[in-house]
């Protein structure tokens, strides 16, 4: 369990640091030190076993068993190396930051983030489970984001942090994809089994995809070309953060992963090419750009990129000796780069600037710092007796070795030496430019040596550079050997850690690099002017920004295409999508359109009705701008439907259809009256054509589907009702029996809804007055003769007749076509005709306008017939019927359902009248409220318009006197 504690101690420490600031400003630094030391103390007992060659795997607990995930930790040579780096350099950085941060900065927050990062980083290197590893991986992205944005008020900090988070967080997601594939190939997410099944993984068909996804994660994290640009932008972080995250740890996480998966993934052509080439390009570009950066930290950032490229390239080459060089350089680079960042921080801290065009001659003010910088820079340049030299020489040797296997054996060493020259040049620059090079002037602050607290950490690291450089086998030997063994998962190759290997190509390359570096540095001014011409031309940040911009444009264009707020466009999309889906379903399955049923013969009558309907429907569309005509045409379609019902022996439906048609037309007329009289502009021809095509496609699709379904055999439920309607419901009219008996409960619900709708409309229209148009669109007043005498007289004559018919239909409904619903509609039609023909004023004096009692009593009657059956202990709405023998009339059958039908009738009449009358009442053309004394007593304010308006009204409404 030691490893689990080791990993989680920093997280606990992070929680403590925020609290501990209350005990004084520096207490959080102490908490951080104790935390790191505690983790370290847990590591040491385990380290002993690992150094002896063991691999410690600790299963902490089951985590998500259903996904096959366990919390497990692994400590072997490689992870020990990284753990030590994380903890030791972490410790040094914590001390450094204690003196570096200014009193304005919140220490607690800083150390909390730093410990959070330390814990996440430990999690990465110690995880046995790769999904667990990924989680820690993303946690480092998150905590580094918080660290970079520590000085959040600075604009560059914001951009840098966001860029870092986008790139590394995104890379982590890509890696998730890679890990998923890897887990699928290896059959496990545990490193132990993945590392053993390298051969199987490499031969798997998914290997290339997986490799690319994982490498995406690695390269983004380790700032490899073309993802390298986030690292310099992340330099906005406080310098301790840069020296910890951007030299020793976070960027090394990608490298760690490369090393970790080396036995499982390496050795294929894909690996060699992608990894080596990426590393090489990064090595070169990083080294080149670094020389031209005037900001000390930017220079160091690019040099970090370059060194990371070097390590990546070594892993790409992939020979055991290359791995030795890579692992060794990981150690060395971490040490000298961390110290250089700290030194840059000291310079920044003491002078107030990092710009090397301003900085010069600091040796006079801070000689000791100058000495330390020179040693560290020399190590970076690869000068003998320093650790950087050793691994760099190994690197050169490997490139020579690898170059030999290629067509042009001199090419690779040549390129690499060129990179080495630039590396030497920028190393010289950081030492010489800052500390020599004339006299210091115009500095924001008068520099002096920093406090000891900032020097000691650097001293430790620089001391390590020297010690490793002089006694490599003693200082770094054992650690390197176990780390290499566990990286390779086999025994380490033979290698010599010595300063002198004799005169060999590598040494020559080293010497050429240093000599060339001096030359390049001397001619730097000319190079700077040359370079300034290309400034910003090949900057990857521009490519990133360009890519973001393109993404934005793409996004905008998609948005414009699918989401332009237009309802038309939405409908268009909906229809096209449905047509495409429907058609593809049909085409893919190649099913015959027609079924097995034979078609009925077409008689002339049906053909004619069908023709009329089609013609009316098409004319409606064509003439939709003349609304009243279109309305008439629509009703013609409705009549055609009614005729169709008659043709197929459904008189009930035909009757219903007819009366509903009438009421709907009246409703539409009432509504149309208030709508604008002009139709909106038509869309252009092209669009119309497009819409016609879509409409035709959709229409014919529906027709084809109806045809396909109707020509297939199907069973109906009709037979059951036909055979049971007389015996079960006592009625020969199946439709009516269905409504009032078999499905009585449904009907009950329906009339309730109808009544509710009516009352709802009443509530909404009550007191609503709309200003009605006084003239038609051409400015002509409405026809003054609203209620022609002939029509009025005829309608009055018709009323008793119609009422008689409706009662007849109601009574016969149970056995013959008819019923409460149709009868109700007929009555409503008869009454509405009175309103239409005689005007509201006249009709209101004859008929009660309040139809609420009608609706209420209808519902009551219907409900009580239902409840009545409870009295006879039957379920709700059970109906019964009985035959009565009445003299003269003979046999009369009365069913209880008829009472129910009466309820339906009343509700239908009440509701349809309620709706139509109230719709008619909202404007003044059909109804002008009586002018009472009260109204006259309070003249309206708009007195100038009143006379003309009332005159117009008089003209329009002749009954008004």
């Amino acid at each position: 369990m030691g490893l689990a504690y080791l990993t989680f101690i920093p997280f606990i420490g992070a929680a403590f640091t925020t609290v501990s600031t209350r005990l004084g400003r520096y207490s959080s630094a102490w908490v951080a030190v104790i935390t790191a030391a505690a983790s370290l103390s847990l590591l040491l007992p385990l380290a002993h076993d690992v150094m002896a060659g063991q691999t410690i795997i600790q299963h902490a607990s089951q985590w998500v068993p259903s996904l096959g995930l366990n919390i497990a930790f692994r400590l072997d040579g490689l992870s020990l190396l990284f753990t030590l780096m994380i903890l030791l350099i972490g410790l040094v950085v914590i001390i450094y930051a204690r003196y570096y941060l200014s009193p304005r900065d919140s220490m607690g927050r800083f150390y909390a983030y730093l410990l959070l990062f330390m814990g996440s980083m430990l999690g990465i290197v110690l995880s046995e489970n790769i999904i667990q590893l990924l989680i820690f991986w993303e946690l480092t992205s998150l905590s580094s984001f918080l660290l970079i944005s520590y000085w959040q008020q600075r604009e560059e900090a914001s951009r840098g942090a966001r860029m870092a988070l986008t790139i590394t967080g995104g890379g982590g997601l890509a890696m998730l994809g890679g890990f998923l594939l890897l887990g699928k190939i290896a059959g496990s997410y545990e490193l132990s089994s993945i590392l053993e099944s390298g051969d199987m993984i490499r031969q798997h068909a998914l290997y290339p995809y997986m490799l690319i996804l994982i490498l995406l994660g690695v390269f983004t994290k380790s700032a490899q070309f073309p993802f390298h640009f986030w690292l310099p932008n992340a330099m906005a972080a406080p310098t301790p953060v840069s020296s910890y995250l951007h030299s020793a740890t976070m960027v090394k996480a990608g490298i760690f992963l490369l090393a970790r998966f080396f036995p499982a993934l390496s050795g294929t052509p894909e690996w060699t090419w992608i990894v080596t080439l990426t590393g090489l390009i990064t090595f070169l570009t990083g080294a080149y750009i670094a020389l031209f950066k005037h900001d000390m930290k930017a220079l160091l950032a690019y040099s970090t990129i370059s060194h990371l490229g070097l390590i990546v390239m070594l892993f790409g080459i992939g020979t055991p000796l290359a791995v030795v060089a890579a692992v060794f350089h990981i150690m060395n680079h971490a040490i000298f780069k961390a110290s250089l960042f700290m030194l840059a921080g000291i310079v920044d801290h003491e002078t107030g600037t990092r710009d090397m065009r301003q900085l010069r001659g600091l040796r006079k003010y801070m000689p000791y710092t100058a000495l330390l910088t020179m040693i560290a820079a020399a190590s970076m340049a690869g000068i003998p007796f320093l650790n950087g030299f050793l691994s760099k020489e190994m690197f050169f040797a490997e490139t020579v070795e690898h170059g030999n296997s290629m067509a042009l054996p001199w090419l690779l060493p040549l390129i690499v030496t060129a990179g080495g020259i630039f590396a030497a040049a920028y190393s010289i620059r950081i030492a010489h430019n800052v500390f020599f090079n004339g006299k210091a002037e115009d500095l924001p602050k008068i520099p002096h040596e920093p406090s000891r607290g900032m020097q000691i950490p650097v001293e430790i690291l620089v001391g390590l550079c020297l010690l490793t450089g002089i006694f490599p086998a003693q200082i770094a030997g054992p650690m390197l050997s176990v780390a290499v063994t566990s990286t390779l998962q086999t025994t380490a190759p033979d290698y010599q850690l010595a300063i002198w290997h004799g005169v060999n190509p590598a040494l020559i390359m080293s010497m050429v690099a240093v000599a060339g570096g001096i030359l390049v540095y001397r001619s730097r001014e000319a190079l700077f002017t040359l370079q300034s011409r290309f400034d910003g031309m090949f900057e990857a940040k521009r490519i990133y920004n360009g890519a973001i911009r393109r993404l934005f444009n793409w996004s905008s264009s998609i948005t414009m295409n699918v989401d332009n707020l237009s309802q038309k466009r939405m409908l268009w999309l909906l229809f096209v999508a449905s047509i495409v889906m429907g058609a593809s379903g049909f085409i893919v399955h190649d099913a015959p359109l027609a079924g097995a049923r034979t078609m009925l013969p077409v008689d002339p009558m049906s053909a004619m009705v069908a023709f009329i309907m089609i013609a009316a429907a098409i004319s409606t569309v064509v003439m939709h701008q003349q609304r009243f005509t279109a309305l008439v045409l629509v009703s013609a379609v409705g009549l055609g439907v009614a005729l169709t019902f008659i043709k197929f022996s459904a008189p009930d439906l035909a009757l219903t259809q007819l009366s509903v048609e009438f009421i709907t037309v009246v409703l539409l007329l009432l509504a149309l009256f208030f709508l604008p009289q002009r139709t909106p502009d038509e869309s252009d021809r092209l669009r119309q054509g497009r819409d016609i095509v879509i409409a035709l496609l959709a229409g014919s699709g529906v027709a084809a589907l109806s045809y396909a379904v109707l020509t297939r055999e199907y069973s109906t439920i009709g037979d059951y009702f036909i055979s049971n309607s007389v015996s079960g419901g006592g009625g020969a009219n199946v439709v009516n029996v269905l409504l009032v008996d078999f499905r009585g409960f449904d009907t009950m619900g329906e009339i309730t809804v109808l009544a509710l709708a009516g009352i709802g409309i009443y509530a909404m229209l009550d007191k609503l007055k709309l200003l009605s148009p006084q003239q038609d669109e051409d400015g002509r007043p409405w026809n003054p003769d609203t209620h022609p005498v002939v029509m009025a007289t005829f309608s009055r004559l018709l009323l008793p007749l119609a009422l008689m018919v409706s009662i007849f239909i109601l009574l016969r409904g149970h056995n013959l076509p008819g019923g409460g619903f149709i009868a109700g509609l007929v009555t409503s039609v008869a009454l509405i005709v009175q309103y239409l023909a005689n005007g509201v004023e006249w009709t209101r004096t004859k008929l009660p306008a309040n139809t609420h009692p009608l609706i209420g009593s209808g519902l009551l009657i219907a409900a009580s017939t239902g409840v009545a059956s409870w009295y006879f202990s039957y379920p709700f709405l059970t109906s019964t019927f009985h035959h009565f023998h009445i003299p003269l009339l003979g046999d009369l059958e009365l069913a209880s359902a008829m009472a129910f039908d009466l309820g339906v009738y009343l509700v239908v009449v009440g509701t349809s009248l309620l709706i139509l009358i109230n719709l008619g009442l909202i404007h003044q053309v059909s109804y002008q409220p009586r002018i009472t004394k009260k109204n006259l007593a309070s003249p309206t304010t708009d007195s100038d318009t009143t006379p003309s308006r009332s005159a117009a009204l008089k003209k329009v409404l002749p009954w008004k006197r």
Binding site: Q62, W63, V64, S66, L67, I131, I135, W137, E138, L139, S141, L142, S149, Q152, S158, R159, A161, R162, L165, T166, G169, G170, G172, L173, L176, G177, L180, L181, G183, K184, Y209, L213, L551, F552, W554, S555, I558, T559, V562, D563, Q567, M570, L571, L573, L574, A577, S578, M581, G582, S584, G585, F586, H589, D590, A591, L705, A708, V709, R712, Y714
Partner: protein, 482 residues
Amino acid sequence: MNAIQYDVMTALPEILVLCMAMFILLLDLFLKPSNRFLIYVLSQLTLLGAAVLTTVTHVPAVGYAFSGLFVDDPLADVLKLGVYLSTAVTLVYTRQYTALRGMFRGEFYALVLFSTLGMMIMISGQHFLTLYMGLELLSLCLYALVALDRDNANSTEAAMKYFVLGALASGMLLYGMSMLYGVTGSLNVSGVADALLSGAPDHGVLVLGLVFIVAGLAFKLGAAPFQMWVPDVYHGAPTAITMFIGSATKIAAFAMVIRLLVQAMFVLAVDWQGMLVIMAIMSMIVGNIAAIAQTNIKRMLAYSTISHIGFLLLGFLSASLNGYASATFYILSYVLMTLAGFGIILLLSRKGFEADRLEDLKGLNQRSPWYAFMMLIVMFSMAGIPPTLGFYAKFTVLQSALQAGFVALVVFAVLMALIGAFYYLRVVKYMYFDEPEDHSPIVAPVDMKLVLSINAIGLLILGMLPQRLMDVCAYAIIHSIQ
């Protein structure tokens, strides 16, 4: 226990919600505006009561009621609990918002409860008509809710569009159902499944029916190419309603997919898999790409929903219990994230001010570091970055799709998630690095602050310990789908 008693017992939560919704509607007429708080309390109690009833009547087996029209299985119970929870949280978050905008009225609560009932029926529907009824009950309530702020032109326009398109989509769904009925002779979910198992008589018509059903479902879920209503409705509706539409209703739509595609038409899995693949790809493209250009956070979340639905569909692709369990996990995680995300928007809104532009989040860290951190978690979770819940959600569906062999699709989905991460992180950037444009203090009731914090922290905790939730999802699926 006779049949009727059994039926009533099975549907007890539904009956409770129905009665309470009607009671609240009536009670509101007799309440003084100052006593409206009672309505709120009653609504919350109703949801609590329903949750208790659902839990108490839970058995790890499938039970049919109302002559096979209604089903009560563990999946239904789990999803219903999700609906109660998200509705209750919605009510907590929206109390202040609605009160400041004159929407703190009985209608709001009655409509929300009726929608809840609709969702419950959708979840428990075992018959195409039951499902359809639940769907329509929900949809009609939602149309009304979107237009609840009557004087807001955006809202009414959104409601209108939603209604027209929604009605068309419902029509398509019905169309598909009727074709399925024509071929199988049954409208019952298990009846259709049996009929299809015994040999489909007419595969062509069957597939056409399937096409229309899938189209209808895709519309309700908001999957491309039937996503066109989502941005407008999310944007136009009052944020409180957007939150409701974005959270609970997706659970119900998910349930409907399970009932229709998985339970009724499993035999046609090969056919619907193909359609879902296309819709998943399109949803991920449209959702992730279009989200980038949005300046309105509600619109952005609308597109993010579309892309999440794309991911959700990946879970169905494997057509395996494992896959459905991962999809269940995904939808529940999605709902939790959405709730927290909209919670923050509601938190920042105040009287006469909708915090619905991305700019409104600027400098949130300076105004309130705690809620900036909460939103950070939400955005990370939506982007699928560990250790948040969203990561596991993506992880499980990707894994299940991978097991079914959709390698290229998984790689594609990962790339789309990468693009998605970009716009979520942009929100983080606004919060942490930009200067706040308005400095007004954040005022919210204590309960809202508390629940919101729990909600967001929950994303983190569930992200680290997802096992329990995963077990629940797996349990629900295994005991409900044969």
